[in-house]
Protein backbone atom coordinates (compact mmCIF):
# COMPACT_ATOMS: atom_id res chain seq x y z
CA UNK A 1 0.00 0.00 0.00
CA UNK A 2 2.01 2.94 -1.30
CA UNK A 3 -0.43 5.43 0.21
CA UNK A 4 0.14 4.03 3.72
CA UNK A 5 3.92 4.16 3.24
CA UNK A 6 3.73 7.79 2.05
CA UNK A 7 1.54 8.66 5.01
CA UNK A 8 4.12 7.02 7.30
CA UNK A 9 6.93 9.08 5.75
CA UNK A 10 4.90 12.25 6.20
CA UNK A 11 4.14 11.64 9.88
CA UNK A 12 7.71 10.64 10.74
CA UNK A 13 8.96 13.77 9.00
CA UNK A 14 6.52 16.07 10.83
CA UNK A 15 7.25 14.41 14.17
CA UNK A 16 11.03 14.72 13.75
CA UNK A 17 10.83 18.37 12.69
CA UNK A 18 8.66 19.21 15.68
CA UNK A 19 10.39 17.03 18.28
CA UNK A 20 14.01 17.65 17.30
CA UNK A 21 14.96 19.88 14.40
CA UNK A 22 12.90 23.04 14.88
CA UNK A 23 13.89 23.58 18.49
CA UNK A 24 15.32 27.04 19.29
CA UNK A 25 18.91 25.80 19.97
CA UNK A 26 19.03 23.98 16.63
CA UNK A 27 17.61 26.93 14.70
CA UNK A 28 20.15 29.29 16.26
CA UNK A 29 22.96 26.80 15.47
CA UNK A 30 21.62 26.61 11.91
CA UNK A 31 22.00 30.37 11.51
CA UNK A 32 25.23 30.75 13.48
CA UNK A 33 27.13 27.94 11.75
CA UNK A 34 27.11 29.53 8.24
CA UNK A 35 27.77 32.98 9.73
CA UNK A 36 30.82 31.78 11.66
CA UNK A 37 32.05 29.86 8.61
CA UNK A 38 31.79 32.99 6.46
CA UNK A 39 33.41 35.20 9.06
CA UNK A 40 36.33 32.81 9.46
CA UNK A 41 37.07 32.83 5.72
CA UNK A 42 36.47 36.59 5.38
CA UNK A 43 38.96 37.37 8.14
CA UNK A 44 41.53 34.98 6.67
CA UNK A 45 41.34 36.21 3.08
CA UNK A 46 38.61 38.67 2.01
CA UNK A 47 39.53 38.34 -1.70
CA UNK A 48 38.09 35.56 -3.87
CA UNK A 49 35.27 34.62 -1.52
CA UNK A 50 32.77 34.38 -4.39
CA UNK A 51 34.87 31.51 -5.79
CA UNK A 52 34.76 29.81 -2.41
CA UNK A 53 30.97 30.10 -2.02
CA UNK A 54 30.08 26.82 -3.87
CA UNK A 55 32.31 24.94 -1.43
CA UNK A 56 30.86 26.80 1.56
CA UNK A 57 27.27 26.01 0.52
CA UNK A 58 28.20 22.34 0.05
CA UNK A 59 30.00 22.28 3.41
CA UNK A 60 27.01 23.90 5.18
CA UNK A 61 24.73 21.24 3.63
CA UNK A 62 27.12 18.46 4.67
CA UNK A 63 27.42 19.53 8.31
CA UNK A 64 23.81 20.69 8.60
CA UNK A 65 22.45 17.30 7.57
CA UNK A 66 24.88 14.78 9.03
CA UNK A 67 25.29 16.40 12.46
CA UNK A 68 21.61 16.34 13.45
CA UNK A 69 20.52 13.28 11.45
CA UNK A 70 23.01 10.98 13.14
CA UNK A 71 22.10 12.31 16.59
CA UNK A 72 18.33 12.00 16.08
CA UNK A 73 18.44 8.36 14.96
CA UNK A 74 21.02 7.26 17.53
CA UNK A 75 19.13 9.05 20.31
CA UNK A 76 15.87 7.33 19.36
CA UNK A 77 17.65 3.98 19.25
CA UNK A 78 19.12 4.65 22.69
CA UNK A 79 15.80 5.53 24.39
CA UNK A 80 13.81 2.85 22.57
CA UNK A 81 11.69 5.35 20.61
CA UNK A 82 12.89 3.96 17.26
CA UNK A 83 11.14 0.69 18.20
CA UNK A 84 7.90 2.66 18.30
CA UNK A 85 8.39 3.28 14.57
CA UNK A 86 9.55 -0.27 13.83
CA UNK A 87 6.36 -1.76 15.32
CA UNK A 88 4.19 0.56 13.18
CA UNK A 89 2.72 -0.95 10.00
CA UNK A 90 5.24 0.59 7.59
CA UNK A 91 8.41 -0.78 6.00
CA UNK A 92 11.90 -0.14 7.37
CA UNK A 93 12.71 1.80 4.17
CA UNK A 94 9.77 4.11 4.87
CA UNK A 95 11.05 4.82 8.38
CA UNK A 96 14.47 5.71 7.02
CA UNK A 97 13.11 7.87 4.20
CA UNK A 98 11.04 9.82 6.77
CA UNK A 99 14.14 10.26 8.92
CA UNK A 100 16.33 11.26 5.97
CA UNK A 101 13.79 13.87 4.84
CA UNK A 102 13.81 15.46 8.31
CA UNK A 103 17.61 15.77 8.23
CA UNK A 104 17.49 17.00 4.65
CA UNK A 105 15.04 19.80 5.46
CA UNK A 106 17.23 20.94 8.36
CA UNK A 107 20.26 20.84 6.05
CA UNK A 108 18.29 22.80 3.46
CA UNK A 109 17.68 25.58 6.01
CA UNK A 110 21.38 25.79 6.89
CA UNK A 111 22.54 25.60 3.27
CA UNK A 112 19.84 28.19 2.42
CA UNK A 113 21.23 30.58 5.04
CA UNK A 114 24.73 29.99 3.63
CA UNK A 115 23.46 30.70 0.11
CA UNK A 116 21.83 33.96 1.26
CA UNK A 117 25.04 35.04 2.98
CA UNK A 118 27.01 34.17 -0.18
CA UNK A 119 24.64 36.20 -2.34
CA UNK A 120 24.44 39.20 0.02
CA UNK A 121 28.00 39.45 1.34
CA UNK A 122 30.33 37.36 -0.83
CA UNK A 123 29.29 38.71 -4.23
CA UNK A 124 28.18 35.26 -5.38
CA UNK A 125 25.41 34.89 -7.97
CA UNK A 126 23.13 32.00 -8.86
CA UNK A 127 23.71 31.71 -12.61
CA UNK A 128 21.57 28.61 -13.18
CA UNK A 129 18.84 28.63 -10.51
CA UNK A 130 17.07 25.42 -11.64
CA UNK A 131 20.31 23.41 -11.51
CA UNK A 132 21.26 25.08 -8.24
CA UNK A 133 17.98 23.99 -6.62
CA UNK A 134 18.32 20.44 -8.04
CA UNK A 135 21.89 20.12 -6.72
CA UNK A 136 20.97 21.62 -3.36
CA UNK A 137 18.09 19.18 -2.86
CA UNK A 138 20.15 16.16 -3.94
CA UNK A 139 23.10 17.24 -1.78
CA UNK A 140 21.05 17.52 1.42
CA UNK A 141 19.29 14.23 0.67
CA UNK A 142 22.53 12.34 -0.02
CA UNK A 143 24.30 13.61 3.07
CA UNK A 144 21.27 13.10 5.28
CA UNK A 145 21.16 9.50 4.02
CA UNK A 146 24.87 9.22 4.86
CA UNK A 147 24.05 10.46 8.39
CA UNK A 148 21.32 7.80 8.64
CA UNK A 149 23.72 5.11 7.46
CA UNK A 150 26.24 6.13 10.12
CA UNK A 151 23.54 6.26 12.81
CA UNK A 152 22.11 2.79 12.16
CA UNK A 153 25.57 1.24 12.28
CA UNK A 154 26.42 2.50 15.80
CA UNK A 155 24.81 2.33 19.23
CA UNK A 156 25.78 5.52 21.04
CA UNK A 157 25.36 9.19 20.12
CA UNK A 158 29.08 9.90 20.59
CA UNK A 159 29.95 6.99 18.28
CA UNK A 160 27.73 8.52 15.60
CA UNK A 161 29.55 11.87 15.93
CA UNK A 162 32.98 10.24 15.82
CA UNK A 163 32.15 8.06 12.83
CA UNK A 164 30.57 11.04 11.01
CA UNK A 165 33.80 12.98 11.44
CA UNK A 166 35.75 10.18 9.75
CA UNK A 167 33.72 10.96 6.64
CA UNK A 168 33.16 14.70 7.00
CA UNK A 169 36.61 16.10 7.53
CA UNK A 170 38.37 14.13 4.76
CA UNK A 171 35.53 15.15 2.45
CA UNK A 172 36.01 18.85 3.27
CA UNK A 173 39.67 18.63 2.25
CA UNK A 174 39.43 16.15 -0.64
CA UNK A 175 36.25 17.18 -2.44
CA UNK A 176 37.19 20.58 -3.86
CA UNK A 177 35.80 22.83 -1.13
CA UNK A 178 39.06 24.77 -0.76
CA UNK A 179 41.20 23.43 -3.62
CA UNK A 180 40.00 22.22 -7.04
CA UNK A 181 40.06 18.41 -7.27
CA UNK A 182 41.98 18.68 -10.58
CA UNK A 183 44.88 20.36 -8.73
CA UNK A 184 45.35 17.33 -6.44
CA UNK A 185 47.57 14.27 -7.09
CA UNK A 186 45.89 11.58 -9.23
CA UNK A 187 45.45 9.00 -6.40
CA UNK A 188 43.71 11.67 -4.29
CA UNK A 189 41.51 12.55 -7.28
CA UNK A 190 40.44 8.90 -7.50
CA UNK A 191 39.48 8.90 -3.80
CA UNK A 192 37.71 12.25 -4.22
CA UNK A 193 35.52 10.78 -6.96
CA UNK A 194 34.36 8.07 -4.57
CA UNK A 195 32.93 10.73 -2.26
CA UNK A 196 29.55 12.44 -2.87
CA UNK A 197 30.65 15.93 -1.80
CA UNK A 198 32.98 16.12 -4.85
CA UNK A 199 29.96 15.98 -7.17
CA UNK A 200 28.04 18.48 -5.02
CA UNK A 201 30.87 21.04 -5.03
CA UNK A 202 31.43 20.66 -8.78
CA UNK A 203 27.71 21.03 -9.54
CA UNK A 204 27.33 24.00 -7.14
CA UNK A 205 30.31 25.66 -8.84
CA UNK A 206 28.70 25.32 -12.27
CA UNK A 207 25.24 26.40 -11.05
CA UNK A 208 26.53 29.41 -9.10
CA UNK A 209 29.43 30.70 -11.15
CA UNK A 210 29.16 28.96 -14.53
CA UNK A 211 30.12 28.02 -17.13
CA UNK A 212 27.64 25.16 -17.33
CA UNK A 213 28.90 21.90 -18.87
CA UNK A 214 25.73 19.92 -19.39
CA UNK A 215 27.55 16.56 -19.50
CA UNK A 216 29.42 17.25 -16.26
CA UNK A 217 26.31 18.59 -14.57
CA UNK A 218 24.37 15.46 -15.58
CA UNK A 219 27.24 13.28 -14.35
CA UNK A 220 27.11 15.07 -10.99
CA UNK A 221 23.34 14.75 -10.68
CA UNK A 222 23.38 11.05 -11.63
CA UNK A 223 26.28 10.36 -9.25
CA UNK A 224 24.47 12.09 -6.36
CA UNK A 225 21.27 10.13 -7.13
CA UNK A 226 23.26 6.89 -7.12
CA UNK A 227 24.88 7.77 -3.79
CA UNK A 228 21.42 8.51 -2.37
CA UNK A 229 20.05 5.12 -3.46
CA UNK A 230 23.16 3.25 -2.25
CA UNK A 231 23.13 4.94 1.18
CA UNK A 232 19.40 4.33 1.65
CA UNK A 233 19.62 0.67 0.61
CA UNK A 234 22.65 0.09 2.88
CA UNK A 235 20.99 1.87 5.82
CA UNK A 236 17.80 -0.19 5.39
CA UNK A 237 19.81 -3.43 5.24
CA UNK A 238 21.79 -2.49 8.33
CA UNK A 239 18.60 -1.63 10.21
CA UNK A 240 17.09 -4.97 9.17
CA UNK A 241 20.26 -6.76 10.24
CA UNK A 242 20.12 -5.07 13.64
CA UNK A 243 16.75 -6.77 14.19
CA UNK A 244 18.20 -10.25 13.58
Amino acid sequence: MIRNELEGIWHILLKDLKAYYFKPPNISWGILFPLVLTLAFTLRNPAGLAELSPGLVAMAALFGTTSMEAIVITFEKRVGALERLIIAPVSLATILVGKVLGGAIFGLVIAGVMTLISLLFLNATVTYPIFFIAVLILTVLVHSALGALVAVSVKEVFEAQTLSNYFRFPMVFLCGVFLPVEAMPVPVQVIAHLLPLTYSVDAFRQALMGPLHVTLMLRDLVALTLFLVIFLVLATRLLKKSLE
Binding site: W10, E83, A88, P89, L243
Partner: protein, 322 residues
Protein backbone atom coordinates in the same frame (compact mmCIF):
# COMPACT_ATOMS: atom_id res chain seq x y z
CA UNK B 1 -12.81 -20.34 19.42
CA UNK B 2 -10.32 -19.59 16.66
CA UNK B 3 -6.61 -19.48 17.23
CA UNK B 4 -5.50 -15.89 16.66
CA UNK B 5 -1.81 -16.51 17.42
CA UNK B 6 -0.06 -19.74 16.49
CA UNK B 7 3.62 -20.50 16.91
CA UNK B 8 5.50 -23.61 15.78
CA UNK B 9 8.98 -24.24 17.19
CA UNK B 10 9.67 -20.53 17.45
CA UNK B 11 13.33 -20.15 18.33
CA UNK B 12 15.69 -17.27 18.96
CA UNK B 13 19.43 -17.26 19.58
CA UNK B 14 21.43 -14.24 20.71
CA UNK B 15 24.88 -15.32 19.61
CA UNK B 16 25.34 -18.70 21.27
CA UNK B 17 22.65 -18.05 23.90
CA UNK B 18 19.39 -19.85 23.25
CA UNK B 19 16.84 -17.24 24.40
CA UNK B 20 13.66 -18.90 23.13
CA UNK B 21 13.72 -22.65 22.62
CA UNK B 22 11.27 -24.12 20.07
CA UNK B 23 8.11 -22.62 21.52
CA UNK B 24 4.82 -23.96 20.13
CA UNK B 25 1.51 -22.54 21.32
CA UNK B 26 -1.97 -21.53 20.21
CA UNK B 27 -3.68 -18.48 21.62
CA UNK B 28 -7.42 -18.23 21.24
CA UNK B 29 -9.27 -15.19 20.03
CA UNK B 30 -10.62 -13.07 22.89
CA UNK B 31 -8.60 -14.60 25.74
CA UNK B 32 -6.16 -13.00 28.12
CA UNK B 33 -3.02 -15.08 27.81
CA UNK B 34 -0.19 -14.64 30.28
CA UNK B 35 3.46 -15.43 29.91
CA UNK B 36 4.87 -16.01 33.36
CA UNK B 37 8.50 -16.62 34.12
CA UNK B 38 11.66 -15.41 35.84
CA UNK B 39 14.05 -12.87 34.36
CA UNK B 40 15.78 -13.96 31.19
CA UNK B 41 13.22 -16.71 30.60
CA UNK B 42 12.45 -15.48 27.08
CA UNK B 43 9.13 -13.68 27.68
CA UNK B 44 10.06 -10.36 26.11
CA UNK B 45 12.01 -12.00 23.28
CA UNK B 46 8.91 -13.99 22.33
CA UNK B 47 6.82 -10.79 22.14
CA UNK B 48 9.58 -9.05 20.18
CA UNK B 49 9.55 -11.84 17.61
CA UNK B 50 5.77 -11.80 17.30
CA UNK B 51 5.60 -8.03 16.68
CA UNK B 52 8.55 -7.77 14.28
CA UNK B 53 11.18 -6.27 16.58
CA UNK B 54 13.47 -9.22 16.15
CA UNK B 55 13.64 -12.06 13.64
CA UNK B 56 13.26 -15.70 14.73
CA UNK B 57 16.15 -18.03 13.88
CA UNK B 58 13.87 -21.03 13.51
CA UNK B 59 10.20 -21.86 13.47
CA UNK B 60 7.10 -20.07 12.29
CA UNK B 61 4.33 -17.97 13.76
CA UNK B 62 1.11 -16.54 12.43
CA UNK B 63 -1.03 -13.75 13.79
CA UNK B 64 -4.57 -13.58 12.42
CA UNK B 65 -3.34 -15.94 9.72
CA UNK B 66 -0.49 -13.63 8.63
CA UNK B 67 3.02 -15.04 8.73
CA UNK B 68 5.18 -12.89 11.04
CA UNK B 69 8.09 -13.00 8.60
CA UNK B 70 6.36 -12.77 5.23
CA UNK B 71 3.48 -10.43 6.13
CA UNK B 72 4.96 -8.45 8.99
CA UNK B 73 3.37 -5.12 7.91
CA UNK B 74 -0.09 -6.75 7.98
CA UNK B 75 0.71 -8.31 11.35
CA UNK B 76 1.73 -4.91 12.72
CA UNK B 77 -1.50 -3.28 11.59
CA UNK B 78 -3.65 -5.67 13.66
CA UNK B 79 -1.60 -5.61 16.88
CA UNK B 80 -1.01 -2.97 19.52
CA UNK B 81 2.20 -3.12 21.54
CA UNK B 82 2.92 -1.77 25.01
CA UNK B 83 6.63 -2.28 25.70
CA UNK B 84 8.04 -2.58 29.21
CA UNK B 85 9.45 0.93 28.95
CA UNK B 86 6.92 3.63 28.13
CA UNK B 87 8.53 4.90 24.96
CA UNK B 88 6.38 7.66 23.51
CA UNK B 89 8.14 10.88 22.55
CA UNK B 90 9.15 13.02 25.55
CA UNK B 91 9.32 16.16 23.43
CA UNK B 92 5.70 15.90 22.23
CA UNK B 93 2.52 16.43 24.21
CA UNK B 94 0.23 13.50 25.01
CA UNK B 95 -2.18 14.70 22.32
CA UNK B 96 0.60 15.07 19.73
CA UNK B 97 1.88 11.59 20.55
CA UNK B 98 -1.54 10.04 20.03
CA UNK B 99 -2.07 12.11 16.89
CA UNK B 100 1.27 10.84 15.55
CA UNK B 101 0.36 7.24 16.34
CA UNK B 102 -3.05 7.63 14.67
CA UNK B 103 -1.26 8.76 11.52
CA UNK B 104 1.30 5.94 11.64
CA UNK B 105 -1.50 3.38 12.02
CA UNK B 106 -3.59 4.93 9.23
CA UNK B 107 -6.62 5.75 11.36
CA UNK B 108 -9.17 7.52 9.10
CA UNK B 109 -8.59 11.28 9.33
CA UNK B 110 -12.13 12.15 10.37
CA UNK B 111 -11.98 9.71 13.30
CA UNK B 112 -8.62 10.67 14.75
CA UNK B 113 -9.63 13.49 17.10
CA UNK B 114 -12.67 11.59 18.33
CA UNK B 115 -10.64 8.45 19.11
CA UNK B 116 -7.92 10.43 20.88
CA UNK B 117 -10.47 12.31 23.01
CA UNK B 118 -12.21 9.06 23.92
CA UNK B 119 -8.96 7.26 24.85
CA UNK B 120 -7.74 10.20 26.92
CA UNK B 121 -11.04 10.11 28.80
CA UNK B 122 -10.87 6.33 29.30
CA UNK B 123 -7.35 6.55 30.73
CA UNK B 124 -8.01 9.65 32.86
CA UNK B 125 -5.64 11.77 30.81
CA UNK B 126 -8.09 14.35 29.46
CA UNK B 127 -6.66 17.14 31.62
CA UNK B 128 -3.08 16.20 30.65
CA UNK B 129 -3.62 16.20 26.89
CA UNK B 130 -1.45 19.30 26.36
CA UNK B 131 1.26 18.19 28.82
CA UNK B 132 4.61 17.04 27.46
CA UNK B 133 4.93 13.24 27.71
CA UNK B 134 8.40 13.64 29.25
CA UNK B 135 6.92 15.59 32.17
CA UNK B 136 4.36 12.95 33.18
CA UNK B 137 4.65 10.63 36.17
CA UNK B 138 5.50 6.95 35.62
CA UNK B 139 1.87 5.90 36.03
CA UNK B 140 0.54 8.53 33.62
CA UNK B 141 3.26 7.65 31.07
CA UNK B 142 2.16 4.02 31.28
CA UNK B 143 -1.47 4.97 30.70
CA UNK B 144 -0.58 7.20 27.73
CA UNK B 145 1.52 4.39 26.22
CA UNK B 146 -1.38 1.95 26.50
CA UNK B 147 -3.75 4.53 25.00
CA UNK B 148 -1.33 4.94 22.07
CA UNK B 149 -1.27 1.18 21.51
CA UNK B 150 -5.07 1.14 21.24
CA UNK B 151 -5.48 4.07 18.84
CA UNK B 152 -6.02 1.82 15.80
CA UNK B 153 -8.36 -0.56 17.67
CA UNK B 154 -6.09 -3.61 17.37
CA UNK B 155 -7.39 -7.18 17.49
CA UNK B 156 -4.51 -8.20 19.75
CA UNK B 157 -2.83 -6.18 22.46
CA UNK B 158 0.68 -7.20 23.56
CA UNK B 159 1.76 -5.88 26.94
CA UNK B 160 5.22 -6.44 28.37
CA UNK B 161 5.06 -6.21 32.18
CA UNK B 162 2.08 -3.81 32.06
CA UNK B 163 1.86 -3.03 35.78
CA UNK B 164 5.59 -2.94 36.49
CA UNK B 165 6.39 0.25 38.41
CA UNK B 166 2.74 1.24 38.89
CA UNK B 167 1.17 2.05 42.25
CA UNK B 168 -1.47 -0.33 43.62
CA UNK B 169 -4.47 1.72 42.48
CA UNK B 170 -3.13 2.26 38.95
CA UNK B 171 -2.26 -1.44 38.64
CA UNK B 172 -5.72 -2.44 39.82
CA UNK B 173 -7.51 -0.08 37.41
CA UNK B 174 -5.30 -1.27 34.56
CA UNK B 175 -6.18 -4.90 35.32
CA UNK B 176 -9.86 -4.01 35.31
CA UNK B 177 -9.40 -2.17 32.01
CA UNK B 178 -7.77 -5.26 30.45
CA UNK B 179 -10.68 -7.40 31.60
CA UNK B 180 -13.11 -4.91 30.06
CA UNK B 181 -11.05 -4.91 26.88
CA UNK B 182 -11.40 -8.69 26.64
CA UNK B 183 -15.17 -8.26 26.79
CA UNK B 184 -14.95 -6.21 23.59
CA UNK B 185 -13.28 -9.18 21.84
CA UNK B 186 -9.67 -7.99 22.00
CA UNK B 187 -7.11 -10.72 22.64
CA UNK B 188 -4.59 -9.75 25.30
CA UNK B 189 -1.10 -11.28 25.44
CA UNK B 190 0.88 -10.15 28.43
CA UNK B 191 4.09 -10.99 30.20
CA UNK B 192 4.34 -10.61 33.92
CA UNK B 193 6.48 -11.65 36.83
CA UNK B 194 3.60 -10.99 39.28
CA UNK B 195 2.13 -14.45 39.89
CA UNK B 196 -0.95 -13.02 41.60
CA UNK B 197 -1.59 -10.74 38.64
CA UNK B 198 -1.44 -13.67 36.23
CA UNK B 199 -3.82 -15.61 38.46
CA UNK B 200 -6.33 -12.75 38.71
CA UNK B 201 -6.22 -11.70 35.09
CA UNK B 202 -5.39 -14.53 32.74
CA UNK B 203 -7.65 -17.10 31.15
CA UNK B 204 -4.58 -19.21 30.38
CA UNK B 205 -0.99 -19.02 31.46
CA UNK B 206 2.21 -20.33 29.95
CA UNK B 207 5.09 -20.76 32.39
CA UNK B 208 8.36 -20.20 30.61
CA UNK B 209 11.79 -21.04 31.98
CA UNK B 210 15.11 -20.86 30.10
CA UNK B 211 13.30 -20.28 26.82
CA UNK B 212 11.02 -23.29 27.12
CA UNK B 213 7.34 -23.48 27.96
CA UNK B 214 7.18 -25.96 30.82
CA UNK B 215 3.44 -25.69 31.47
CA UNK B 216 0.48 -24.08 29.74
CA UNK B 217 -3.06 -24.22 31.07
CA UNK B 218 -5.75 -22.30 32.94
CA UNK B 219 -4.66 -21.02 36.38
CA UNK B 220 -7.01 -23.56 38.08
CA UNK B 221 -5.63 -26.50 36.12
CA UNK B 222 -2.06 -25.43 36.82
CA UNK B 223 -2.82 -25.35 40.53
CA UNK B 224 -4.55 -28.74 40.38
CA UNK B 225 -1.64 -30.31 38.59
CA UNK B 226 0.77 -29.60 41.41
CA UNK B 227 1.88 -32.90 42.89
CA UNK B 228 0.10 -33.09 46.28
CA UNK B 229 -3.31 -31.54 46.15
CA UNK B 230 -3.33 -29.84 49.56
CA UNK B 231 -1.11 -27.79 51.81
CA UNK B 232 -1.21 -27.93 55.60
CA UNK B 233 -0.25 -24.61 57.11
CA UNK B 234 0.53 -24.55 60.83
CA UNK B 235 1.60 -21.57 62.94
CA UNK B 236 3.31 -22.39 66.25
CA UNK B 237 4.07 -20.15 69.22
CA UNK B 238 7.82 -20.54 68.71
CA UNK B 239 10.17 -21.01 65.70
CA UNK B 240 10.43 -24.50 64.25
CA UNK B 241 13.50 -24.02 62.06
CA UNK B 242 15.92 -25.54 64.57
CA UNK B 243 13.86 -28.68 65.14
CA UNK B 244 14.36 -32.02 63.46
CA UNK B 245 11.72 -32.15 60.75
CA UNK B 246 12.72 -35.53 59.32
CA UNK B 247 9.65 -37.34 60.61
CA UNK B 248 7.37 -34.87 58.79
CA UNK B 249 9.29 -35.00 55.53
CA UNK B 250 7.83 -38.44 54.86
CA UNK B 251 4.43 -36.79 54.36
CA UNK B 252 5.42 -34.20 51.78
CA UNK B 253 7.76 -31.32 50.93
CA UNK B 254 8.24 -28.86 53.77
CA UNK B 255 8.61 -25.10 53.81
CA UNK B 256 9.51 -23.32 57.05
CA UNK B 257 9.39 -19.62 57.78
CA UNK B 258 9.85 -18.43 61.37
CA UNK B 259 6.95 -19.98 63.34
CA UNK B 260 5.13 -21.22 60.25
CA UNK B 261 5.32 -24.68 58.74
CA UNK B 262 3.83 -25.56 55.36
CA UNK B 263 3.69 -29.14 54.12
CA UNK B 264 2.49 -30.10 50.69
CA UNK B 265 0.67 -33.38 51.20
CA UNK B 266 -1.33 -36.02 49.40
CA UNK B 267 -3.09 -37.54 52.43
CA UNK B 268 -4.44 -34.67 54.53
CA UNK B 269 -5.84 -36.68 57.45
CA UNK B 270 -2.76 -38.80 58.01
CA UNK B 271 -0.53 -35.75 57.75
CA UNK B 272 -2.62 -33.72 60.21
CA UNK B 273 -2.21 -36.50 62.78
CA UNK B 274 1.53 -36.49 62.20
CA UNK B 275 1.74 -32.71 62.64
CA UNK B 276 -0.22 -32.90 65.92
CA UNK B 277 2.06 -35.70 67.13
CA UNK B 278 5.11 -33.62 66.12
CA UNK B 279 3.81 -30.62 68.12
CA UNK B 280 3.20 -32.79 71.20
CA UNK B 281 6.62 -34.44 70.98
CA UNK B 282 8.38 -31.08 70.83
CA UNK B 283 6.18 -29.28 73.32
CA UNK B 284 4.94 -26.84 70.72
CA UNK B 285 1.65 -24.99 70.95
CA UNK B 286 -0.37 -24.57 67.78
CA UNK B 287 -1.70 -21.05 67.25
CA UNK B 288 -3.35 -21.72 63.93
CA UNK B 289 -3.76 -24.68 61.61
CA UNK B 290 -5.33 -24.73 58.18
CA UNK B 291 -5.45 -26.81 55.05
CA UNK B 292 -5.29 -24.84 51.81
CA UNK B 293 -5.37 -25.69 48.14
CA UNK B 294 -2.08 -24.95 46.32
CA UNK B 295 -1.90 -21.41 44.95
CA UNK B 296 -0.58 -20.52 41.52
CA UNK B 297 2.57 -19.48 43.33
CA UNK B 298 2.93 -23.02 44.70
CA UNK B 299 2.43 -24.37 41.20
CA UNK B 300 4.99 -21.91 39.84
CA UNK B 301 7.58 -22.77 42.50
CA UNK B 302 7.01 -26.46 41.98
CA UNK B 303 7.34 -26.19 38.20
CA UNK B 304 10.22 -23.73 37.97
CA UNK B 305 12.10 -24.17 41.20
CA UNK B 306 12.20 -20.37 41.43
CA UNK B 307 10.80 -18.70 44.53
CA UNK B 308 8.48 -15.85 43.65
CA UNK B 309 10.23 -13.50 46.10
CA UNK B 310 13.55 -14.17 44.37
CA UNK B 311 11.96 -13.42 41.00
CA UNK B 312 10.53 -10.11 42.25
CA UNK B 313 13.78 -9.08 43.90
CA UNK B 314 15.72 -9.83 40.72
CA UNK B 315 13.26 -7.77 38.71
CA UNK B 316 13.47 -4.84 41.08
CA UNK B 317 17.26 -5.02 41.13
CA UNK B 318 17.29 -4.76 37.34
CA UNK B 319 14.85 -1.85 37.54
CA UNK B 320 11.79 -2.85 35.58
CA UNK B 321 9.20 -0.62 34.17
CA UNK B 322 7.68 2.53 32.84
Amino acid sequence: MNNIITTQNLTKYYGSLLAVDHISMNIEEGEIFGFLGPNGAGKTTTIRMLVGLTTPNEGTATIKGYDIQKDIVKVKSCVGVVPETSNLYNELTVWENLRFMSGMYHVPRNERDHRITSLLKTFGLADRARAKFGGLSKGLKRRATIAAALIHRPDILFLDEPTSGLDVMSARSLRQFLKDLRETGVTVFLTTHYIEEADLLCDRIAIIVKGQIIAMDTPNNLKANVHGTSIIEVVFTSPVKTLNLEELQAYGSIEVKDNTLRIQVTDVLKSLKAVTRFADDHGLKVVYMNTVKPSLEDAFVKLTGVESEVMLMEKERRGGGA
